[in-house]
């Protein structure tokens, strides 16, 4: 029963950590708009956490610039299990227009397993909500698999 309760909790209260790895801020703004009154992701329990230690879902935006690579890897390591990595926008998926640049070391899946990707440049808030919902499902299966 205890396990079921915890699963319920995990389903209902995923906390996000947003890492910007050199994004143009388009995706960041869309992500923030998800918690505005219009979309209000808090009604599904989403909350932006301030530190990786509190997070369940890591949302990465931006191509991984060489400056941010090290920080990204370290921060990702600091998130407690179970965790899900969500890439938001085209940049972490493939570096988008920046690919091939001398200062970009993406894409993200070089450094960790990306569980869910949300495409769009930037994705619409609705798409982000869809992606996060999918991430929660994966989070649940990860918790069960443990």
């Amino acid at each position: 029963m205890f396990k079921k309760l915890i699963e319920k909790g995990i389903e209902k209260s995923p906390w996000l950590l947003h890492i910007n790895t050199g994004s143009c801020n388009g995706c960041d703004i869309e992500l923030v708009s998800v918690i505005t009154p219009r979309y209000d992701a808090e009604r599904m329990g989403f909350k932006l956490a301030g530190t990786p230690r509190h997070a369940d879902i890591v949302v990465v935006s931006g191509p991984i610039t060489s400056q941010s690579k090290e920080r990204l890897v370290r921060t990702l390591a600091q998130v407690p299990d179970p965790k899900v990595v969500v890439s938001i926008g085209s940049c972490p998926r493939s570096c988008n227009v920046f690919h091939g640049s001398y200062s970009v070391e993406g894409p993200l899946d070089r450094y960790c397993d990306v569980d869910v990707s949300i495409a769009g440049c930037p994705p619409k808030p609705e798409a982000i909500i869809d992606g996060l919902a999918k991430a929660v499902e994966i989070l649940k299966t990860k918790r069960r698999g443990k």
């Binding site: 085209s90 493939s94 988008n96 495409a119 619409k124 798409a127």
Partner: protein, 162 residues
């Protein structure tokens, strides 16, 4: 001390919230939204203009030689796309369309691929020229649409991911 939003906060308590219940109530994207790419392989003439204008190199083209002709596959990788609509704008045949479908969520690369395949028939071998060259030249344009008819049927099996 001023609390400029006190009144608004209290009055909002009794009003309906302005939140959209997105996952429950589906929502249409606004007119002109540039979402998931739809590729009409039947219209494509393999001019390659889209590839040339694509800034992030999201469009790849593979050409296989088959007996029937060149089997050409256009692949749009949504994970690399900026959704700038350049390709659609530059497409002379309007074979590329950016739909209003915004929900592009996937767990692996395949979820973000939009592909379209068509076979570009080799130009028919010039038959033994009949009496005059002029009628043959006049016939060829007429045959060309007929030649593209066939691959269009084959293009039905192009992958159209949701």
């Amino acid at each position: 001390m001023k609390f400029p939003f006190l009144k608004e906060a209290i009055t909002s308590l009794t009003k309906k919230p302005s939140t959209e219940l997105y996952p429950l109530v589906k929502k249409e994207a606004p007119e002109g939204y540039r979402g998931r790419i739809k590729f009409h392989a039947d219209k494509c003439i393999n001019c390659g203009m889209c590839i040339r204008v694509c800034a992030p190199d999201a469009i790849t083209r593979t050409i296989e030689k088959t007996e029937e002709g060149d089997k050409i596959t256009f692949q749009f990788y949504l994970g690399q796309c900026t959704f700038c609509q350049m390709c659609a704008d530059f497409c002379a045949k309007k074979a590329i369309e950016l739909t209003k479908d915004y929900s592009m969520v996937g767990t692996d690369e395949e979820d973000f691929m939009v592909r379209g395949t068509f076979i570009k028939k080799l130009p028919p071998k010039p038959p033994v020229p009949p009496a005059g060259a002029a009628p043959a030249a006049a016939k060829a344009p007429a045959a060309a649409p007929a030649a593209t008819e066939k691959p269009a049927e084959k293009a039905e099996d192009k992958k159209e991911e949701k």
